[in-house]
C-alpha cells in the first residue's frame, strides 16, 4: 500500500496539470481530486456554487478535502439540500431521497451498481481517470462541454465492447 501511494504521488506530481483537457491547478494530490470534482460538478450542474452531500466509506477524506481546498463546493448534511450526491468509496445502499439527486462516484464500480450514477472520477494505475455515462447525462438533460468528449462513454457501447462486437 505504501509503495502504491508513493507511486501514485510520483505520477501525480510529475504531470501537472494532470488532465490536459481539464484545466485545474493544484499543489497536492488531495487538492487535485477536489479541484477536478469541483470543475466536474460545476459543468454537470451548470452552476458556480454546488451543494454536495457525501456518503460512503471514504466520506471523511473527501469532506475534509472539500473543506480545505474548495471555495465553490459546499457540504450539506442531507440529500434534501444537495445539488449532487458524491459516492465516496464503497457503499452498499443509498438513502431513498438521494436516488432522485444526480449521483457521482469516486469508484468506477459504483457506475454499474447505481443507475442514477452519472459517472466517476477515480485512479487507474496512478493516473486520474474520468468516466461520464452518456445516456444518464441525457436522461437528466445534461449537456457537457466539448472538452469532456473523450471521457464520455455509452452504456450500450460498454456492452458491445464486453461482447467484443465493437472494438
Amino acid at each position: 500500500m505504501k509503495n502504491l501511494l508513493s507511486f501514485l504521488t510520483l505520477i501525480l506530481l510529475t504531470f501537472v496539470p494532470a488532465h490536459p483537457q481539464i484545466d485545474v491547478s493544484y499543489s497536492k494530490p488531495e487538492e487535485l481530486e477536489v479541484k477536478i470534482l469541483e470543475k466536474l460538478f460545476q459543468d454537470i450542474l451548470g452552476k458556480e456554487r454546488v451543494r454536495v452531500f457525501v456518503i460512503g466509506d471514504k466520506k471523511e477524506h473527501y469532506r475534509r478535502g472539500i473543506e480545505d481546498y474548495s471555495d465553490n463546493l459546499h457540504l450539506v448534511t442531507n440529500c434534501g439540500g444537495a445539488d449532487i450526491v458524491l459516492l465516496a468509496g464503497q457503499i452498499s445502499s443509498i438513502p431513498e431521497d438521494c436516488l432522485k439527486k444526480p449521483l457521482f462516484s469516486t469508484r468506477r464500480e459504483n457506475i454499474s451498481k447505481f443507475r442514477g450514477c452519472l459517472g466517476a472520477f477515480y485512479w487507474k494505475k496512478g493516473r486520474p481517470n474520468i468516466v461520464l455515462i452518456k445516456e444518464r447525462l441525457e436522461e437528466r438533460g445534461i449537456k457537457m462541454p466539448k472538452e469532456y468528449r473523450r471521457y464520455i462513454e455509452s452504456e450500450g457501447r460498454a456492452t458491445e465492447l464486453r461482447r467484443g462486437f465493437r472494438i
Partner: protein, 625 residues
C-alpha cells in the same frame, strides 16, 4: 574594539569563507552524483524491461499465429488468460503494472490484458493516459517509447512497446515501474548532503553572528568616537585609532577657547553648547581635509595635512587666520551676541615624536605658552628650533639628580607696605653638564608622569630643607602640583621634616582646578597646615582656580597670576579683578601676592589696591642664595 579583536574577526571570516567554499562543491557534487546514479539505474532497468518486452512481443505474435491481437484477445478468453499469466510473471516490487492496451476508433486507450496484481484494468476499460503525445508517438512510429517521471523522493518510468501487425501498431505492451533502490542511494546521498548543509548553515550562522558582533561593536565604537554635541570625533577616537595613524604627515594643533567658563557663566550652558557646536562647524568649514577632533571640553585637536603648505611660516599664518576668524565671528544665541577668542598651539614637527600622544604633547606645550603669554594668540612648537634642541631628556634629569646638579634660584616676595622681603620663592634649575642653567620649561613637562618626577620633587624639598636648616633668617616657598600633595611619597617627605623648618616653608600649589579629587586635596592641605606648613595657591586667575575652592581649602596665601597683573596700569578690568580678589581675601584672612611686578607703575597700582605682597623683576630677580 582592539586590533586584536579585529584580527580575530578577520580570522573568523576567513575560516567561514573557506568552510563555505569547501562545502558548496561537496553539496553540488552530491546532487550531480545523485542525478548520475538515478540516470544509470533507470537506464539499466529500462534496458532490462526493453529486452524482456522484445521477447514477450515475439512470443505474443507467435501465439496469435496471424490473428489480429485485438480481435483475438476480445474473443479468446483462454488466450487472454495465458497472456495475462505471462505478463504477471514480470510483476516485481519495482515493475508494478504490466498490461496491453489498444487505441479504439475514437482514439481512446482501452485495456486488453492486465498482468498487474492490483488495480487491474478490465477488458475494454478506458484508460486516460498522461503525456498522451508520447503514447501516440509509440503508436505512430512503431518504436519503443520510455516516459521518465521523477520527483524529489522517487523516480519511475513507463515503458511502451508497440505490438506491430502488418505494419500497423495494433496494441501497446506497457510496464509502469519505479526504481526502489534509488531511495536507498538517495538516503545515503541525502545524509552527506544534509551534513554538508548543516555545516554550511552553521558556518553561515557563525558568519551572521560575527557580522552582528562586528556591527554592534561598530555601533558602540561610533557612540564612543563621535561627540554628540558637535558631531566631531572624540579623544577616544584618537586614543584608539591614533596608533594606526601616520601622524608625521600632519601638523598637530590644539585650539582652546579662552575663558570659556565665562560664556557658560554669563549666558548659560546651553549657550555654551551652541557656541561649541557653531565653532565646530566653523572649524570643519575652514579646515577641510583635516581631522578635527573635540579633544576635551572646549579644546579641539586639529591634524592638518602637511602637503598643503610650503613652509612652517605659512602654517602659522593659516592658524593666525583661524584665530582671527573666530575672534571676528559673532555667535548668536537667543538674542545674545557672543564673542569668543581662542589660543592655538601648533606642533610643527610631529614627525619627530615617537607617538601621536607625544606629538599632541608638543602642541599642548605651545598652547600652554599661548595661554601664559596672555591668550588669544598662536604659539608653535618646533623640535628643530635651538631652544628645543637643548631640552633635557628624562635621563638627563635623572643624571642631574644623581650627580647633585639640581639647584634652586630664589626670587624674593616683598611686603608691599614695609618694603621688606617676606620670603623667597624657590625656583628649580638644573645645571647642565656644560655648566648652562636650565629652567623648568626645559624639562618639567617631559618628566611629569614618570618616576623621575617624584625623585625630582623630593630633591627640591631636600635642598630647601637643608637651606632652611642653615639659614634660620629666611623663609622659602616651594612649588608643588596638586598630585604631589596627595602622593604618599611626597607627603611622607614633608611629614619627616622637623617642625621648626616646616614653619618657615610655604607650599605653592598650582592648577587647583582639574585636580583628581578636590576632597583629597582639601584633606591633604588640612594636614599640611596642621603640620605647620603655610599654603599658597599659585597662578590664581589663570583660568584654573576659583574663590569658592580657595575658601574651602583654608589657604594662607593667594598669588594672582601674571596675566592679570601685567596690564593692571592700563586695564580697568584687571584692576577691578585684583581689587575684588584682594578685598575678598582680606575678609577671609588670606594674604594676596601679585606676581609679574615688572615695573614701578605696576608696583604703584598694586599698592593703591592694597595688595599685600609683590614678586617680579622690579622687586628682585631670581638668584642663588
Amino acid at each position: 574594539m582592539t586590533r586584536e579583536a579585529n584580527r580575530i574577526n578577520l580570522l573568523t571570516f576567513v575560516l567561514i569563507a573557506v568552510l563555505v567554499a569547501l562545502s558548496i562543491p561537496i553539496y553540488m557534487g552530491s546532487s550531480f552524483v545523485e542525478r548520475h546514479v538515478q540516470k544509470r539505474m533507470v537506464s539499466d532497468i529500462v534496458s532490462i524491461v526493453g529486452h524482456v518486452f522484445d521477447n514477450i512481443a515475439n512470443d505474443l505474435v507467435k501465439m496469435l499465429g496471424g490473428q489480429d491481437i485485438v480481435i483475438a484477445l476480445y474473443h479468446d478468453e483462454d488466450l487472454r488468460s495465458q497472456i495475462e499469466k505471462k505478463l504477471s510473471l514480470l510483476v516485481t516490487p519495482e515493475i508494478k503494472y504490466v498490461y496491453i492496451v489498444y487505441r479504439d476508433e475514437e482514439g481512446k486507450f482501452r485495456f486488453l490484458v492486465d498482468g498487474s496484481k492490483e488495480d487491474k484494468g478490465e477488458l475494454g476499460e478506458k484508460l486516460d493516459v498522461l503525456n498522451e503525445a508520447k503514447w501516440l508517438e509509440a503508436v505512430r512510429t512503431g518504436r519503443d517509447v520510455v516516459i521518465i517521471q521523477e520527483n524529489l523522493h522517487t523516480i519511475g518510468a513507463t515503458y511502451i512497446k508497440p505490438i506491430v501487425q502488418g505494419h500497423t501498431t495494433r496494441a501497446l505492451l506497457v510496464a509502469d515501474f519505479s526504481v526502489q533502490k534509488i531511495r536507498k542511494i538517495k538516503g545515503a546521498i541525502d545524509l552527506i548532503r544534509n551534513a554538508t548543509l548543516v555545516s554550511v548553515m552553521s558556518a553561515l550562522a557563525f558568519l551572521l553572528f560575527a557580522i552582528y558582533q562586528y556591527l554592534r561593536t561598530r555601533a558602540v565604537e561610533k557612540s564612543l568616537y563621535i561627540d554628540k554635541l558637535t558631531g566631531l570625533y572624540t579623544k577616544n577616537y584618537v586614543d584608539q585609532e591614533g596608533v594606526r595613524m601616520d601622524f608625521g604627515r600632519y601638523y598637530i594643533a590644539l585650539i582652546d577657547v579662552d575663558d570659556f567658563r565665562k560664556v557658560n557663566a554669563t549666558y548659560g550652558e546651553e549657550a555654551g553648547d551652541h557656541v561649541l557646536r557653531e565653532l565646530a562647524h566653523f572649524l570643519r568649514e575652514r579646515l577641510k581635509g583635516a581631522h578635527v577632533i573635540r579633544y576635551s571640553g572646549e579644546e579641539f585637536l586639529i591634524m592638518l595635512p602637511k602637503g598643503r603648505f610650503r613652509d612652517k611660516a605659512e602654517v602659522i599664518n593659516f592658524f593666525e587666520k583661524i584665530r582671527e576668524g573666530v575672534k571676528s565671528r559673532v555667535f548668536s544665541y537667543e538674542g545674545n551676541q557672543i564673542k569668543i577668542r581662542v589660543s592655538i598651539g601648533i606642533n610643527l614637527t610631529a614627525e619627530r615624536s615617537r607617538s601621536l600622544e607625544e606629538a599632541i604633547k608638543g602642541a599642548d606645550r605651545a598652547l600652554y605658552r599661548a595661554k601664559r603669554g596672555g591668550k588669544d594668540r598662536v604659539e608653535a612648537h618646533d623640535d628643530t628650533s635651538e631652544e628645543i634642541k637643548h631640552r633635557l631628556s628624562v635621563a638627563d634629569v635623572r643624571d642631574a639628580i644623581e650627580s647633585g646638579r639640581i639647584i634652586c634660584h630664589y626670587q624674593p616676595i616683598v611686603n608691599l607696605r614695609t618694603g621688606e622681603i617676606s620670603h623667597y620663592e624657590a625656583l628649580a634649575r638644573i645645571v647642565g653638564q656644560d655648566g648652562e642653567i636650565y629652567p623648568p620649561g626645559f624639562f618639567l613637562d617631559d618628566i611629569k608622569g614618570t618616576f623621575i618626577y617624584t625623585r625630582f620633587v623630593k630633591e627640591i624639598i631636600r635642598i630647601n630643607t637643608e637651606l632652611l636648616r642653615e639659614r634660620k633668617d629666611i623663609e622659602v616657598s616651594i612649588n608643588l602640583i596638586p598630585t604631589d600633595i596627595i602622593d604618599e611619597t611626597v607627603l611622607g617627605e614633608l611629614r619627616s621634616i622637623e617642625r621648626k623648618v616646616r614653619r618657615r616653608m610655604l607650599l605653592e600649589i598650582t592648577e587647583v582646578e582639574g585636580i583628581p579629587s578636590f576632597n583629597s586635596i582639601k584633606k591633604s592641605i588640612g594636614e599640611l597646615r596642621r603640620l605647620g606648613y603655610r599654603i599658597c595657591i599659585d597662578d590664581f586667575g589663570a583660568g584654573y582656580s576659583n574663590l569658592i575652592n580657595i575658601t574651602q581649602m583654608r589657604v594662607d596665601y593667594l598669588k594672582i597670576d601674571g596675566s592679570i597683573i601685567k596690564d593692571i596700569p592700563e586695564n580697568r578690568v584687571s584692576r577691578l579683578l585684583t581689587k575684588t580678589i584682594t578685598s575678598f581675601c582680606k575678609e577671609v584672612n588670606i594674604k594676596v601676592i601679585a606676581e609679574y611686578v615688572e615695573n614701578a607703575k605696576i608696583l604703584r597700582a598694586l599698592k593703591e589696591l592694597g595688595v599685600d605682597y609683590g614678586q617680579g623683576y622690579h622687586l628682585g630677580k631670581p638668584r642663588e642664595l
